[in-house]
Amino acid sequence: MMVVLVALLAAGCAAKKGFEREGFAFGCPIGDSKVGSMEDLIETKVTLEGRRTNVIVTELRCTMSGDLMKIEANLNNDAGQIRRVAYKFRWMDREGMRVGEEEAWKPVLMYEKSNNVVAALAPSGKAADFRLIVMGQD
């Protein structure tokens, strides 16, 4: 009986992880999108533009700093060679309109078999959603 109760409690906690608020997953706004896992969230928020790359986003975390959205993304280079990528964030307001100017592409060097955490803060409190855009530079 006790074992079943503990298992049920654990399952309940696990299911809730990252989905504390409706319309959010892992702290990130998802709107009406169906996001059930980190992979779903990455698929919704990450876009590849221009030259393709093997460097992938493996994790996304969002939080609020005052009224500004703060994001951390983990980039992973699984290859045995150095890879170069560039990334930028695109910010949108509640209506899906772009907030502020397009960000500058930021180049990142990824060592062999390495991870790199890139962070961003929204340019203003109007930013309610975002996309992370990644482009190969090799």
Binding site: S65, G66, L68, K70, A86, K88, G100, E102, E103, A104, W105, K106, P107, A120, L121, P123, S124, G125, Q137
Partner: protein
């Protein structure tokens, strides 16, 4: 004789070919991405300027002096260029100021560079009888800044036979003018390497 004629012919053909080719070669002009990654040389470039301005702005927006204060009033002072190359540091601070102003979380007071224009305009309004006396800008109404931004950019350049490495460090500080306390500071580092061949 025959040989010299042949030489003249070859020369004439060469000149003609050069003229034709020169006339055909057209310069191509295209618009590029102003925010793209620029790697033409390893000197300070547009990507460096944009990355520095963005990093400093976002860091400052997250600083307690901005998040806790009610619209701090800031003035921009000099960013000293301590590198060996020419860098328009005013372009960097202008970009930082524009981004901060757009955020709506910081206000800017006229800086030392803009003060003479400001004074001139107030004097012009005051001295010109064509202006409505009730609406002219009065002396003694300007608001002084609470904080000042200043900084510096340094570089370390190392060069060997086939490689040139440039390291830039941009440092920005926000000082409380009244009590002289450092309220915020941050740095942005950039490394660029050029390899020949």
């Amino acid at each position: 004789m025959i040989r010299s004629v042949a030489l003249v012919r070859v020369a004439a053909v060469s000149v003609l070919a050069a003229l034709v080719l020169g006339g055909c070669a057209k310069d191509t002009v295209r618009y590029g991405d102003a925010r793209g990654v620029e790697t033409v040389t390893n000197q300070f470039g547009s990507t460096d300027l944009q990355m520095i301005a963005e990093a400093m702005t976002r860091s400052l927006l997250d600083a307690p002096v901005v998040t806790a204060h009610n619209l701090p009033i800031v003035t921009v002072q000099e960013v000293r260029n301590k590198t060996s190359e020419y860098i328009d540091t005013r372009a960097i601070t202008d970009s930082i100021r524009a981004e901060l102003q757009k955020s709506g979380k910081v206000r800017f007071a006229v800086d030392a560079a803009g003060m003479s224009n400001q004074r001139e305009e107030i004097d012009r309004q005051q001295d010109d009888e064509y202006y409505d006396r009730e609406q002219v800008a009065e002396k003694g109404r300007m608001v002084g800044a609470q904080y000042r931004l200043e900084g510096n950019i340094t570089s370390i350049v190392k060069q060997a036979k086939d490689i040139k490495d440039v390291y830039y460090k941009f440092n920005l500080q926000m000082w409380n003018i009244r009590n002289g306390l450092l309220e915020w500071t941050d740095e942005k580092e950039i490394r660029k390497t050029t390899t020949k061949g």
